[in-house]
């Protein structure tokens, strides 16, 4: 790929382009929350800023870390959580190997197995075929292991459960739906083309049949203006710019400090991995839309047009927290309010039609990566759940946490090898 995640272009000190900010602006509900580092991700080394999406390129699958975390955020998401239905450890390992091989192919823009056509006429094709002829579209597939996979009576993994893979506490205001929560495994498929993302999850689900079944899944859309070089910071469903500042995918120091699990953390197998928190956050869109502008801006702590923090003229100006209401979202989510807690957000907006009462079933599918959930999501969400003025307009309805293992190194490696070896 010509621009984006893996490259450190040596431009860290130059002013970030709007496109660059966009690339790292994974919409977090910890919305204007300020994270460490300036965002300079998706700038090509020659200084121009052709959107990576236009290239339709492939993101390398192999690496020290899994793609899909520090990778420049793609437009679309299909996220699926699975229950492992087999009780057999060898079958689970076989599944992970088959998934890895399929993921290698799909992220390179190739069909699964022997493809979608040309095989024996009597058998269904290996690949479902709806992504034929489409570009790789920067597809990334990222796997995670849920706490339930490490249960004592299952696959003998109880001693390998990382301490940082904690069960999330109940936060005030949570209204969690069990059928939209948890899971033994998760697959995050991100791509610039929704069909490519859906195809990937569909094929993995099919390969998994008999060994793993889909527990729940979520489609997400994020940015709508990513193909233009002067694209703006994306806005969430409440109309506010989201992800102005986030941990940049090129900021190695911040990633090492806040996102990647280090060799001294958690006993080894997670080194180079990360922890993922996924939350389905429903927004009460209709009541929000009846809220006066001033109140909306006070709730966030930023203005709606420019996205500037209270009392500042520009979107990317350093926020002055004390100028905001004590209950302002940005103030409560800021690392300074949370002992430096910082997370890499790559959430997506979702709209799943209406809810039967005519209300838009919409909101934010929040995805956050961090080195330790206890030092990342939990303190930030504690602060938000207790005091955030935004809580009147949102509700957390789904929740899951996963240990995201390190990257697949090469053609012989597979997702989770270090855990199962």
């Amino acid at each position: 790929m010509r621009s984006g995640a893996g490259e450190t272009s040596g431009e860290k000190d130059s002013a970030p382009s709007r496109r660059a900010l966009l690339g790292w602006g994974g919409a977090g509900l910890a919305l204007g929350a300020v994270a460490a580092g300036g965002a300079v991700a998706a700038v090509r080394s020659d200084g121009s800023s052709e959107p990576a999406a236009d290239s339709g390129a492939a993101v390398p699958f192999h690496g020290v870390h899994q793609a899909g975390i520090a990778t420049a955020v793609q437009d679309r998401l299909h996220f699926a959580a699975f229950d492992v239905t087999t009780k057999d450890r060898a079958e689970l390992i076989a599944l992970l190997k088959e998934w890895t091989r399929a993921a290698e192919r799909m992220t390179a823009g190739q069909a699964v197995g022997d493809g979608a056509y040309g095989g024996p006429a009597e058998a269904p094709p290996d690949d479902t075929g709806e992504a034929l002829g489409l570009k790789p579209s920067r597809l990334t597939l990222t796997i995670g292991f849920g706490p339930s996979l490490f249960a004592a009576d299952r696959f003998g993994l109880q001693d390998s459960r990382p301490e940082a893979l904690v069960d999330l506490p109940k936060f005030p205001g949570d209204n969690l739906d069990a059928t939209r929560s948890g899971g033994d495994l998760c697959v995050q498929a991100c791509a610039d083309d929704p069909q490519v993302a859906v195809h990937a999850v569909r094929n993995l689900a099919r390969i998994g049949m008999g060994r793993a079944s889909v527990r729940w899944s979520q489609l997400g859309f994020g940015k709508t203006s990513s193909t233009t070089p002067d694209a703006q910071t994306p806005r969430n469903m409440m109309g506010f710019k989201d992800g102005t500042r986030n941990i940049a995918g090129t900021d190695d120091a911040a990633l090492t400090k806040h996102v990647w699990v280090g060799p001294k953390d958690d006993g080894g197998w997670m080194t180079g991995g990360s922890y993922l928190v996924a939350r389905r956050i429903r927004m009460h869109i209709e009541t929000w839309d009846r809220t006066p502008l001033q109140e909306q801006e006070d709730i966030f702590g930023r203005d709606k047009g420019e996205g500037a923090p209270v009392g500042r003229p520009k979107e990317r100006d350093e926020p002055f927290l004390k100028a905001m209401l004590p209950t302002a979202h940005v103030r409560l989510a800021h690392p300074d309010t949370n002992g430096g807690a910082s997370i890499l957000r790559r959430g997506y907006s979702f709209t799943d039609g209406t809810d039967g009462l005519g209300r838009l079933d919409a909101g934010l599918f929040f995805l956050a990566y961090q080195r330790d959930v206890r030092k990342g999501f939990i303190p930030v969400q504690r602060s938000l759940a207790a005091n955030d003025a935004l809580n009147e307009y949102i509700q957390h309805v789904g929740s899951a946490v996963f240990a995201v293992p390190p990257g697949v190194r090469d053609k012989d490696d597979w997702w989770g090898r270090a855990l199962f070896s």
Binding site: P120, A121, E122, A123, P124, M209, G210, S213
Partner: protein
């Protein structure tokens, strides 16, 4: 079954190695060597040749009419060899089939209605797919099974239809699910007779405009929802018996091949996946698990007969299938107290999580089962 249309599609699978060319077929020039050309117009169906050598036959259709059409290859008794629907005006399509010597009809149906404009064709020669003795054995075994199912089912149907005709609601309810087991075990074969299935097993939502609703599900609704049997229902009972007696008479002549057996097994699981697991099939009586079990048993029978062939070609597949059939059977046994009886838990008492577990088990079996036909013909 879901709808009348399904029976047509299903029937196509009952002929060996028969594959409708889809997708890019329209792009072909339709002038392949040896292909039979069919020019379909609103009032004609021109077939380029009426003498065709047996074996693999390709039919290149061009719709020069103004209406959407469909083209069928039919056995003399109207069973479908293969068909292709939705051929739009000005478009081309290709149909392929494996045919033995005999007399067939090619039919174009402008507007996709009626019996169509027909042309008789003669297929001659002996180039039909060679079959090994073990394949013949499997086919013969399955033919015997299908006939036995029909023979054993008819008396049970009689108990049911007699009770309905007598207005005995309780006796009819008791006999209902039992009367369907043999049919459900062999459903793909039954459906290959395009005319019987819509009379006996159609659901209300599967009816076409103007089609009179008859058969099991019509009576199911009367028994469980309306809770009364009027003159009309009482009159439908002997009709159901008559239609199923027709099935019993014809089922032995059904076109059966190893491929159709394998695909039929998969289709039985598909029936479970789309109709039974959701509770749609028996929405009034909630006897879905009886049908479910019967579908699985029918699939298992096909599989057992084909296993000697398939295991030689793909031992890993048959190992998986053995395991998944056993797992599904074990799961189903949770829903009946007595393994010798077909009294299953009423499906409205099966909760969401349990339905998900059943659905997962069906997927776990149906996915590898979809590879059985390839393993048999390899």
């Amino acid at each position: 079954m879901r709808a009348v249309r399904l029976s047509v599609v299903t029937a196509a699978a009952t002929v060996a190695a028969l594959t409708a060319v889809t997708g890019c077929a329209e792009k072909s020039d339709g002038k392949g060597d040896g292909a039979v050309q069919v020019i379909a117009k609103d009032d004609s169906c021109e077939v380029s040749r009426t003498k065709i050598p047996a074996g693999h036959v390709e039919i290149a259709v061009e719709n020069k009419g103004s209406k959407v059409t469909e083209v069928y290859v039919l056995f003399p008794d109207d069973r479908i060899v293969t068909e292709r629907e939705n051929i739009g005006p000005g478009t081309k399509a290709k149909i392929t089939a494996e045919v033995k010597s005999g007399t067939y009809e090619i039919a174009c149906k402008p507007g996709m209605k009626g019996k169509g404009i027909r042309q008789t064709v003669e297929v001659t020669g002996g180039k039909a797919a060679e079959r090994s003795p073990e394949m013949d054995k499997a086919v013969a075994g399955y033919r015997t099974y299908v006939q036995a199912q029909a023979d054993e089912t008819l008396p049970k149907v009689k108990v049911f239809t007699d009770a309905v005709a007598a207005g005995d609601i309780e006796a009819a309810k008791k006999a209902y699910a039992d009367s369907r087991i043999g049919w459900e075990r062999t459903e793909p074969v039954a459906e290959s007779f395009g005319d019987i299935d819509p009379k006996v097993d159609v659901r209300e939502d599967g009816l076409e405009d103007g089609q009179k609703w008859t058969g099991w599900h019509r009576l199911e609704k009367a028994l469980w929802q309306d809770k009364k049997l009027g003159a009309e229902e009482k009159a439908l009972a002997p009709l159901l018996y008559k239609d199923l007696a027709d099935w019993q008479k014809r089922v032995g002549r059904a076109e059966i091949t190893p491929t159709s057996m394998a695909n039929g097994a998969k289709e039985l699981l598909d029936e479970v996946a789309t109709g039974k697991v959701t509770g749609e099939e028996e929405r009034y009586s909630h006897t879905d698990l009886v049908d479910f079990k019967a579908n699985v048993e029918g699939a298992e029978k096909s599989y057992e007969l084909l296993k000697p062939i398939a295991s030689k070609n793909d031992a890993a597949l048959t190992a998986t299938l053995d395991k998944q059939f056993a797992a599904l059977d074990t799961l189903l046994d949770k829903y009946r107290a007595d393994k010798a009886s077909y009294e299953f838990t009423s499906y409205d008492k099966v909760g969401k999580a349990d339905r998900k577990e059943l659905s997962d088990a069906v997927n776990a079996l149906a996915e590898p089962l979809s590879r059985l036909a390839a393993a048999v013909t390899k």
